[in-house]
């Protein structure tokens, strides 16, 4: 099966500019995740969708970050305006479902978008 697709793979912008990332999950996967991975650290969940509804966005800096998953398939993550500390790899992942009380099923990750904010 095709994996999780992300674009672009690399993006360089100046602070205060806007940027958007796109993700297409594995076909049939109901749950989609966006993670931020700062260099030298593990991924940190930003937002989780179940179909087209938000399950968890507690760690999303909502003053500058936004995400949507229209039609419950692909998703976009936007940063506006970007700050220097937003430099990171943004990973998208998908899974069949999230089991209530147990947690997410095995997640499949895309290659990520490496963002550099100058």
């Amino acid at each position: 099966e095709a994996g999780v697709a992300q674009s672009p793979r690399y993006k360089i912008i100046e602070k205060r500019q806007s940027v958007a990332f796109w993700c297409n999950p594995i076909s049939g996967h109901a749950t989609l995740y966006w993670y931020q991975q700062i260099l030298g650290q593990g991924p940190k969940l930003l937002i989780q969708f179940q179909n087209n509804g938000v399950v968890d966005d507690s760690q999303l800096p909502k003053d500058r970050f936004s995400a949507e998953r229209l039609k419950g398939v692909d998703s976009t993550l936007k940063i506006q305006p970007a700050k220097l500390e937003d430099s990171a790899v943004y990973l998208c992942a998908s899974s069949w479902t999230t089991i209530a009380g147990v947690g997410p099923d095995t997640q499949y990750f895309g290659p990520g978008t490496r963002l550099t904010v100058l």
Binding site: Q41, V55, G103
Partner: protein, 109 residues
């Protein structure tokens, strides 16, 4: 939320040797997973061990889980240069996956 603690942070071994990485956590978990990340690529799921399991094998991978000590270990036997990557443990907390800081493994031919 709390990240898992992994050690060592970096490990360098020769091809053919075994590599052991450890992960500790602070809360009750339903399962613990291990992921691999090659340079410049996304994470790949390696293995999942449930809280009622103590040991699990997959090819050259052996994972143990000690819920009383809140720790897990990943053993890679007969390592290969292609095993060079960062390895992350991850556990569910509050319905979401929490990743550790990772262990950077370098296998020299």
């Amino acid at each position: 939320s709390q990240q898992g603690e992994e050690d060592p942070q970096a490990l360098s071994i020769q091809e053919g040797e075994n590599a052991t990485m450890n992960c500790s956590y602070k809360t009750s978990i339903n399962n613990l997973q291990w992921y691999r990340q090659n340079s410049g690529r996304g994470l790949v799921h390696l293995i999942l061990i449930r809280s009622n399991e103590r040991e699990k094998h997959s090819g050259r991978l052996r994972v143990t889980l000690d819920t009383s000590k809140k720790s897990s270990s990943l053993l890679i036997t007969a390592s290969r240069a292609a095993d060079t990557a960062s390895y992350f443990c991850a556990f569910t907390q509050g319905g979401k996956l929490i990743f550790g800081q990772g262990t950077e493994l370098s296998v020299k031919p």
